[in-house]
């Protein structure tokens, strides 16, 4: 159970090696934390991440989770809840960026990316939401992206999965009103992480820590969406309405 300050006792990160996901978990640690579960596909990497998080008074564990294996999601999440009790905050952090326009021309790669980023995220979210609804409390944090706010040609497969996921997560959040469960949709801009390593930074680039701080602030304030950094909400309210020809020529990578 969260306490009065929105300090959770159990934190689960789906995509448990994600830099942003880990930063959020780190930011949520408090004297009432009991369990952090890093659910990831690479257990060795997961153990390394767990070591970076460990501290006094709580347990960090690693569970196997593959975003693409939708048939396993309900079971994996059930097993985690069985072990650690009520899920207070679940961060859906897994996702792949793909290889830009090349992915958009490769049938198999495009389908695989869409499968993980959208279908897998939908499946895992539904499994989590069912748990939270039954327990009468808890929050699912969904890492969307500004890339879904208006999809760019440079990474349109990725962007479209985020657009779909964002819409799904908002709808899921609306459907959960009155159940005690909540969804927080987080829309980061360019974040310096493994995902963007070696890529030129976009305007308003930020760090996993800043995204985490804004996410936790949004969680405690009971918000439904968080932009990271906050200025991107304003920026995208303009970009969203640019005429197509102007949008296509913008130097956004």
């Amino acid at each position: 159970m969260d306490n009065a300050f929105g300090q959770p006792q159990t934190i689960v990160v789906l995509g448990g090696t994600s830099e942003i996901g880990l930063a959020i978990a780190h930011q949520l640690l408090s004297p009432v934390t009991r369990h952090v579960v890093l659910a990831c596909r690479d257990l060795v990497k997961g153990e390394q991440a767990a070591a970076s998080l460990r501290g006094d008074g709580f347990e960090v564990s690693v569970a196997h989770f593959d975003g693409a294996d939708t048939a396993s999601h309900e079971r994996v999440i059930g097993e985690i809840a069985e072990r650690v009790g009520d899920l207070d905050v679940v961060v859906l952090a897994f996702g792949q960026l793909g290889h830009g326009e090349a992915t958009g021309q490769d049938v198999a790669e495009a389908a695989a990316l869409a499968h993980v980023n959208f279908t897998g995220a939908v499946s895992a979210s539904v499994a989590v939401a069912n748990r939270l609804r039954a327990q009468g409390h808890g929050t699912l944090v969904v890492l969307s992206s500004v890339a879904g706010e208006r999809v760019r040609k440079a990474n349109f497969v990725y962007g479209s999965t985020k657009a779909g996921l964002d819409g799904f997560a908002q709808g899921l959040g609306d459907s959960l009103v009155g159940t005690g469960a909540r969804v927080l949709v987080v829309r980061p801009g360019f974040v310096h992480s493994q995902m963007t390593k070696g890529m030129p930074a976009a305007p308003f680039a930020t760090t996993p820590d800043v995204v985490a701080q804004l996410t936790v602030k949004g969680l405690r304030a009971g918000r439904r969406t968080v932009w990271a950094p906050g200025i991107l909400r304003v920026v995208f309210s303009v970009l969203r309405h640019l005429p197509g020809p102007v949008w296509r020529r913008l130097p956004l990578g």
Partner: protein, 454 residues
């Protein structure tokens, strides 16, 4: 049955449960509906945190009122449904010349809630807590049967239910020892005291024992030399001959009323900030007489001043309020001083801080009061750094053998409770016998792992 969002009085830890109004005869059937998230009885929701919530499970409101109360004048005892409120009971008892043995700072609590939290009042130093005055009770058990409990009939379960936070079953009715009174008025002595050290010295001077009721209000916005400046009140039920002539015509008249309600417009957080609270406290302190003896007050203005403003927690805005109540044993006055200093230095606006001396504790393993000092603080839930402040206070309290109060808790950890309540395991064993399948569950119980034997 309806899925309802429930919070405590502080409005800080919401969760959703199936809320059901039940008559006692329906309980066995309703309990069959309890799923894996179990069931819990809720009183009037005056506990501040998540004690009266059960996320994802059943929450039962026990129907019952004081109209079926049976008064035994000879023994000065009343038998009353546990769903009745102290408000109703006082309206019934006071005109008949009796008073409840213990009243908290609000009369809008149920008898069941008073037993489950083993509540204390301004008379703890003399009379102990509510459980001390419970003669017998009947308890709805998880398996559908009803147990009759007293100091001689299953005393373990009797004491485990007192202070047991609803986790042993539903108290259905109870027989409570009363206090005969000659009038419905209080004779009150008021003292303004310059600082904390002097306050604790005065409260400890033996004079407290000469009065049934004693409590001090501390201005936590004052710092430095004024740290802990306070107003001490001591009172007793006024005798008939102490009343002015015009009150003697109807000495037991009792009709508390609610004056105003705070409108449901949620104010912006920040309305209650350090500056406004400091200004309010300054006024309150100045308004108190330096020393006034034998002032005559009504029961409601002496015991339940907050009840005059309905829904006053709305002043605290969206993020609600957090109450923190701690106790430290006698001999730890220095620790109490450090705690007060720490709160004052934090600049967290604390509107109300109340200091009181506890007398002897009772046999209930989870009863909060122990001989010593207790401090209760009201703070806006959204105050920056409040979480860290309270975790730090927990540590200061535990270090000197103190503990905090379940009925107020909304923040602490299972470890803190295990250190503060060394008899938890003993209580768990009794609870397991009464409820082997763990039907009775609450958010507080889950958060603090009260039933988890580790």
């Amino acid at each position: 049955m309806t899925r309802t969002t429930l919070t405590g009085w502080g409005r800080t830890n919401p969760s959703v449960a199936e809320l059901v109004d039940v008559f006692r005869a329906e309980l066995p059937d309703v309990l069959k509906e309890a799923g894996p998230r179990g069931a819990l009885v809720r009183g009037l929701g005056r506990s501040y945190g998540d004690a009266a919530q059960n996320a994802g499970g059943l929450v039962l409101r026990l129907m019952g009122s004081a109209t079926d109360a049976v008064l035994d004048r000879e023994r000065a005892q009343v038998t009353v449904s546990a769903g009745a409120s102290l408000d109703e009971l006082l309206r019934y008892l006071v005109p008949r010349g009796f008073f409840v043995p213990v009243t908290p700072g609000t009369r809008f609590v149920t008898i069941g809630g008073a037993i489950a939290s083993d509540i204390h009042g301004k008379n703890h130093h003399v009379d102990g807590s509510f459980g001390n005055h419970v003669v017998r009770m009947s308890l709805q058990l998880a398996d559908g049967s009803v147990a009759e409990l007293s100091r001689t009939q299953d005393p373990e379960l009797f004491w485990a239910t007192i202070g047991g936070m609803g986790l042993t079953g539903v108290v259905l009715d109870a027989t409570v020892q009363l206090l005969p009174v000659e009038t419905s008025r209080m004779a009150v002595d008021t003292y303004r005291i310059a600082d904390l050290d002097r306050l604790m010295a005065v409260m400890d001077d033996g004079e407290d024992e000469a009065h049934r009721y004693s409590v001090a209000w501390i201005d936590l916005a004052a710092k430095g030399a004024q740290l802990g400046r306070s107003v001490l009140t001591r009172g007793d039920h006024a005798r008939f001959d102490e009343l002015p002539a015009k009150l003697q015509t109807d000495p037991l008249a009792y009709g508390p009323s609610q004056l105003v309600s705070v409108p449901p417009v949620i104010p912006r957080p920040g309305l209650l900030n350090h500056a406004t609270v400091a200004a309010f406290n300054e006024l309150w302190f100045r308004k108190a007489p330096k020393r006034k003896l034998g002032g005559i007050e009504s029961i409601s203005s002496f015991f339940h001043p907050l009840d005059m403003v309905g829904q006053w927690t709305r002043f605290y805005g969206r993020s609600g309020l957090v109450q923190y109540q701690l106790m430290v044993p006698f001999g730890q006055e220095e620790a109490m001083r450090r705690i007060v200093e720490r709160v004052a230095a934090s600049g967290t606006a604390s509107f109300l801080a109340v200091l009181k001396r506890f007398g002897a504790g009772n046999e209930a393993p989870l009863s909060f009061p122990q001989p010593g000092w207790t401090l209760a603080l009201d703070m806006p839930g959204g105050a920056p750094g409040l979480g860290s402040l309270l975790h730090a206070l927990d540590e200061m309290v535990l270090e000197v053998g103190g503990r905090n109060y379940f009925a107020k808790d909304a923040h602490t950890s299972p470890e803190t409770i295990r250190r503060g309540y060394p008899r938890l395991a003993e209580w768990q064993a009794v609870r397991r016998r009464a409820d082997p399948h763990g039907v009775w569950q609450s958010d507080l119980g889950r958060r603090l792992r009260l039933a988890a034997e580790d």
